[in-house]
């Protein structure tokens, strides 16, 4: 075997998966005190043109001179030209991102990860369950489902946040409620302001308010560990198929392309085999849940 022939040719700059594309922050929307929505536009029109992602995929975002962090894509694939990232301030990179003014250039590479299996989900009822920041990747799925509404039967969104102020995309979701064919169930843990017109209580309580047929439904669940714990309980109570429950895992990541080793769960890499795993996958991976 010829070693030189066997190995792929050294790729040109275009196929260096580590090299970010410059993108400009065109708008920063402060959705919650520690949650900003960043709208980005690639500086190179060709890159924007060729960009395609699936709901549930993520990008590696570089704040130039600080570092890189994986962030879910919150916008729908159908929104060409604009990429929306919903970021919580959590540490060095996200902290530096928060200090950048509009018009700054950041680096973006991706999209990475498997995303939601939308082809398999098509033709089914769709149940989207989001807790807290879990809404970020699910918003992409939600918009995908709305853009291709005909592909799905009923579409239900259950979303829980701590308070109305913490609810991401609150205005957008509230405005959607009446205009599209979507069953929206929102809840907050507490309502300090007293102006909340929807449910107050924990996320799993919303299951009492919805008619869900486990035989015909795919559930996509993303949230903090506590959400998984109780939502999964509800779904299992309903006798959901374990491989029709989809969840998105979060692990430390340094490359996004299956090399750096950090995001491994058991013997899968979150970045390439995930981040979306079925519940069945997850319980069979050591170290999850």
């Amino acid at each position: 075997m010829d070693l030189q022939a066997a190995l792929p040719h050294p790729p040109s700059q275009m196929d260096n998966p580590y090299l970010p594309f410059p993108a400009r922050i065109v708008r920063i929307h402060r959705m919650a005190p520690d949650n900003y929505l960043f709208q980005l536009r690639f500086t190179d029109a060709a890159v924007a043109e060729n960009w395609n992602h699936r709901p549930g995929q993520f990008v590696e975002l570089s704040v130039i001179g600080t570092g890189e962090a994986p962030i879910s894509i919150a916008s729908a694939p159908t929104r060409k030209g604009i990429l929306e990232l919903c970021v919580r301030q959590a540490g060095r990179v996200t902290g530096a991102l928060y200090r950048l003014p509009t018009n700054s250039v950041v680096g973006i590479r991706g999209p990475y990860g498997n995303g939601f299996p939308v082809e398999a989900m098509a033709g089914h009822d769709l149940l989207i369950v989001a807790g807290g920041l879990g809404m970020a990747p699910l918003r992409s799925l939600l918009w995908y489902a709305l853009d291709y509404r005909e592909q799905f039967k009923t579409v239900t969104l259950m979303y829980g946040a701590r308070t109305p102020e913490d609810m991401l995309f609150r205005d957008e979701l509230l405005s959607l409620a009446d205009v599209v064919d979507l069953n929206i169930l929102l809840t907050v843990d507490r309502d300090p302001g007293g102006n909340w017109k929807h449910h107050v209580g924990l996320l799993p309580e919303l299951f009492k308010k919805a008619e869900i047929d486990p035989q015909t439904t795919y559930a996509a669940v993303v949230g903090p560990p506590i959400v998984y714990k109780f939502v999964l309980l509800e779904l299992l109570k309903l006798n959901f198929h374990k491989d029709r429950i989809l969840m998105s895992l979060e692990r430390r990541m340094k490359c996004g392309v299956g090399k750096c080793g950090h995001c491994s769960v058991g013997y899968k890499y979150t970045c390439i085999h995930g981040p979306v795993f079925t519940y069945w996958d997850a319980i069979n991976l050591p170290e999850v849940v």
Binding site: M1, D2, L3, Q4, A5, A6, L7, P8, H9, P10, P11, Q13, D15, N16, P17, Y18, L19, P20, P22, T43, S62, I64, G65, T66, G67, E68, A90, G91, T94, S104, V105, G107, P225, E250, R251, R252, K254, C255, V257, G258, K259, C260, G261, H262, S264, V265, G266, Y267, K268, I272, P286, E287
Partner: protein, 351 residues
């Protein structure tokens, strides 16, 4: 495959053409061990070395590697050119070439290819050499005692001659450039090669049973053995650092004083370190030392099997040699199997 023979007396002439293919690195003494380093004189090169401190991984995945420059004004410029320095690695043992082949699967195959790795691997000519196993090698058990690819040339000792396998066209170029140093091997040479290979295989003193290891590991996931190891392990990371197939890396941005321009650097990391699976906010998916050492074993011996059809361990014995806590991959496998002290199966149920 082209097979040739070269009298040992010709070795000096042969190595004198190598610099035409790049900076030559060969095994030389370093303390009580060896290292691949540019030899000052050829007499420094130890053809009978046991193993080098660091495996050839250091050439294809350097301990610290700047990958690109960034500048808020100018965007991103890769530093790929630096990865293409022609290099000749002389005297690499079969298991280490196996190690490179395993790294190839991770870095040069699959949906994303690592251009830095590929550039380095391609600009490195690998000249293999056979070896005599010592008490730590268990390459035979890991099916890495012999390689049929991944090298340009491979030299096997026949006594007065070397049998030379030509693995690539570059290998052939080296042979051609060296002139008439090689000849066709005779039937007797091949017989001698086989005899010596058998002898080498018989010479392994360290062996592990591999056949059912993935299942055993699956079943012994909660074995007490892991906790005992967690108590002893220092999380020093020495085992993964010297491993020919451990490749975890960390990434950091280095900026220049008074600017946001700088370079992104990747550097070796280890799954034994506490921060390996730590995420923002403080959650650590492998906070316990025992879970980290278990992870290393699982990933090498179990996870890789699932993903690539074989374990990523090649049996070089390095991690056994360097572990200050005397954690020994071969004996760990035995105790998991329950064959060392019979403890594994009896304790596993309790967890």
């Amino acid at each position: 495959m082209k097979i040739l023979k070269m009298p040992k007396d010709n070795l000096d002439l042969f190595v004198s053409v190598l610099p035409a293919f790049g900076q030559v690195y060969a095994p030389v003494r370093r303390g009580s061990g060896y290292a691949f380093a540019p030899p000052a004189r050829w007499s420094e090169v130890c053809m009978d070395y046991t193993r080098t401190h660091l495996p050839p991984k250091k050439f294809v995945l350097p301990p610290r590697e700047p990958t690109f420059r960034f500048d808020p004004g100018q965007g991103f410029q890769d530093l790929l050119a630096e990865a293409s320095t022609p290099t000749v690695l002389f005297g690499v043992h079969a298991y280490d070439i196996y190690g490179l082949n395993i790294l190839d699967r991770v870095f040069a195959q699959g949906p994303y290819k690592d251009p830095y790795y590929i550039a380095r691997r391609q600009s490195t000519a690998v000249i293999g050499a056979d070896f005599r196993p010592d008490e730590l090698h268990f390459a035979l058990s890991m099916n890495a005692d012999f390689v049929d690819s991944g090298f340009d040339l491979f030299l096997s000792d026949l006594g007065d001659d070397y049998l030379v396998l030509v693995g690539t066209s570059r290998g052939d170029d080296i042979v051609l450039l060296s002139g008439c140093l090689m000849e066709e091997p005779s039937v007797a040479d091949i017989a001698e090669y086989k005899r010596r290979s058998n002898l080498r295989r018989a010479g392994y003193r360290n062996r592990v049973k591999l056949e059912d290891l993935p299942e055993i590991l699956e079943m012994e996931y909660h074995s007490r053995v892991w906790n005992e190891m967690g108590d002893r392990c220092l999380s020093c990371g020495s085992c993964s650092t010297v491993c020919p197939t451990c490749y975890c890396f960390d990434v950091s941005d280095e900026v220049e004083l008074g600017s946001r321009a700088g370079q992104r650097v990747r550097s070796w990391d280890s799954c034994l370190f506490k921060t390996h699976a730590l995420v923002a906010g403080g959650e650590n998916f492998r906070a316990a030392r025992s879970s980290r050492i278990k992870f290393r074993f699982y990933h090498k011996q179990r996870g890789f099997v699932a993903e690539y059809g074989r374990p990523s361990c090649v049996g070089c014995g390095r991690c056994i040699e360097v572990c200050p806590a005397e954690i020994n991959i071969a004996t760990v496998i035995d105790s998991i199997r329950g064959e060392r002290d019979g403890s594994a199966s009896s304790s596993s149920a309790s967890a």
